[in-house]
């Protein structure tokens, strides 16, 4: 039994316990427990404004929890010193919603950026590495373009190849499918799974695109109102009894989350002069 627990400990890359976090008076997380397993694609879903991006920033150490613990690879993120935090971040890739490419650099230089900042590799080797990373996302031919010349989907693919430039242990995707046409959505879905399996990564996808995310996830957490509302493998989530999770997964307009914003009685409101 003890061995199984130890095994589970080794298999967990990110371990979040009793996470509490607020912005001003607004409570974002109120006791969240999460485990991200190594080698898996884990999705964190929930409606807009539930703090999904905040969760990624807490894992990446850009924010500190008010209470509770966030551990990545056994390290308590909020207690790390700057140098240690930066060392940890070199082993994490993050894909921002906008791609966050450096607009004054070409696609090639964007992917080369982390390599040039963190390694002393000769330029010829950097060129080979960058072309390999770009080939992996299908954009080797776009190396000389500037970020402004890329479509949204292409920008995200470039950001993906930049995120894997240093061969990280995990990648965090912040709303990777938002605003994408079906073709680039399909490409991103395929790439996330492919990169995860081919490079032996651990992936965390934060999204509210239920279908695409469920398609490639091994495990899903659904969060809302600061708590985990449901969790499980995609088929378990599909069969859930929770009215709230059902409403979210199937996109029903009315349910535990009411269609109407709280308001006084309709009839009274109309008759009021």
């Amino acid at each position: 039994m003890g061995e199984t627990a130890a095994q589970a400990g080794r298999d967990t890359l990110v371990k979040i316990r009793g996470l509490e976090f607020s912005r001003g008076d607004r409570v974002i997380f109120d006791g969240v427990d999460l485990d991200i397993l190594r080698g898996k694609v884990t999705a964190v879903m929930g409606p807009s404004g539930t703090g999904k991006t905040t969760l990624l920033r807490l894992i990446g150490g850009q924010l500190c929890p008010d209470r509770g613990s966030v551990q990545v690879d056994g390290l308590e993120v909020s207690r790390l010193r700057t140098g240690e935090l930066y060392a940890l971040r070199k082993r994490m890739g993050m894909l921002f919603q906008s791609g966050a490419l450096l607009t004054d650099l070409s696609v090639f230089d964007n992917v080369a950026f982390p390599l040039r900042e963190h390694t002393d590799l000769p330029e010829s080797m950097i060129r080979d590495l960058v072309l390999m990373k770009l080939q992996a996302v299908g954009l080797r031919g776009a190396r000389d373009l500037k970020p402004a010349q890329l479509s949204g989907g292409m920008a995200r693919r470039v950001a993906m190849s930049r995120a894997i430039a240093l061969d990280p242990m995990m990648i965090m995707y912040d709303e990777p499918f938002t605003g994408q046409d079906p073709i680039s959505k399909g490409a991103l879905v395929k790439l996330i799974r492919l990169l995860n399996d081919a490079l032996g990564l651990t992936s965390i996808i934060v999204s509210h695109d239920v279908q695409e995310t469920a398609e490639i996830s091994d495990y899903i957490y659904v969060i809302s109102q600061g708590r985990v509302m449901g969790q499980g493998a995609p088929d378990e989530i599909e069969r859930t009894d929770s009215g709230w999770v059902k409403q979210f997964m199937h996109g029903l307009p009315d349910g535990p989350v009411p269609f109407h914003y709280p308001a006084p009685d309709y009839r009274d409101d109309l008759l009021q002069t």
């Binding site: 966050a100 607009t103 982390p114 900042e117 963190h118």
Partner: protein, 260 residues
């Protein structure tokens, strides 16, 4: 009345909060300067965009300011038969005051506002956050090179402004109005003191460079990451810089040239 006091208190808190953040930010930026010196390429790129690209504006402005000074100075001096002192008048005006002050104002309008907008937009498009997540400190990589480039460029631009203005005055005074060529230069040489005038002007422009660039990079870094936020920050850079330049100019002038 209570409302008024509350508003005053809130405004005061906001001001001191911002000053505190600005101070910490400045410390962090200064801490990044050794990293910039190890990678001179970053500094050179910024010197180009902050300094070299401001050259045309500074040179043209210097020329016309000098020409106006030549014209106005001549009209006043000629009444006293002292038009030979035109060179001194022009040189002292630009070296002590107009050179550092006008250069700093133009610098804030051209390079300062551009710096704020660029950094603000980098923040709004998550480029700074992205760098942080790639374990690259944006203060070292983005802010410090710009800050150092601003500090180095300002005295050089002010020197060029002053030199061109002296020639502008020469062109109008000697070339058009007939002031004696030798008198223009020799009086200037005799009366303009290297330490008292030139050196103090350099100190002024160094101080303006430190302050204007600090305001510009801090406003960009501290901006609310929206289009309104960036627009507001850019405006604040120009307004606060102008205010800081003129206030500091008075303080510095009083310290350098005040006889008390």
């Amino acid at each position: 009345m209570l409302d008024w006091i509350r508003k005053l208190g809130r405004g005061g808190l906001r001001l001191f909060g911002k000053l505190g953040r600005g101070g910490l930010f400045l410390m962090a930026t200064l801490g990044g300067i050794p990293a910039v010196l190890r990678r001179p390429g970053l500094l050179v790129a910024q010197l180009w965009s902050v300094g070299v690209l401001s050259l045309a504006l500074i040179t043209l402005s210097g020329l016309f300011v000098g020409m106006v000074l030549g014209l106005q100075g001549y009209n006043t001096l000629v009444d006293f038969g002292a038009e030979e002192s035109l060179g001194v008048a022009v040189a002292l005006a630009v070296v002590r005051e107009l050179g550092p002050v006008v250069t700093a104002l133009l610098f804030a309008g051209r390079a300062g506002s551009a710096m704020t907008a660029e950094i603000g937009l980098m923040k709004a498009t998550e480029q700074l956050s992205g760098m942080e997540m790639m374990a690259v400190n944006p203060i070292h990589r983005v802010i410090a090179p710009r800050y150092l480039a601003g500090i180095l460029s300002m005295p050089l631009l002010a020197a060029i402004f002053s030199a061109v203005a002296v020639y502008g005055g020469f062109f109008v005074g000697v070339g058009l109005l007939g002031v004696d060529d030798g008198a223009y230069w020799s009086q200037m040489q005799a009366k303009v003191d290297l330490y008292e005038d030139v050196w103090n002007g350099v100190i002024k422009s160094l101080v303006f460079g430190l302050v204007v660039t600090w305001i510009a990079v801090f406003e960009g870094y501290d901006t609310v990451p929206t289009s309104e936020g960036v627009a507001g920050a850019t405006t604040r850079t120009v307004v606060h810089s102008a205010f800081a330049i003129l206030t500091l100019d008075f303080v510095l002038t009083a310290m350098m040239f005040g006889d008390y």
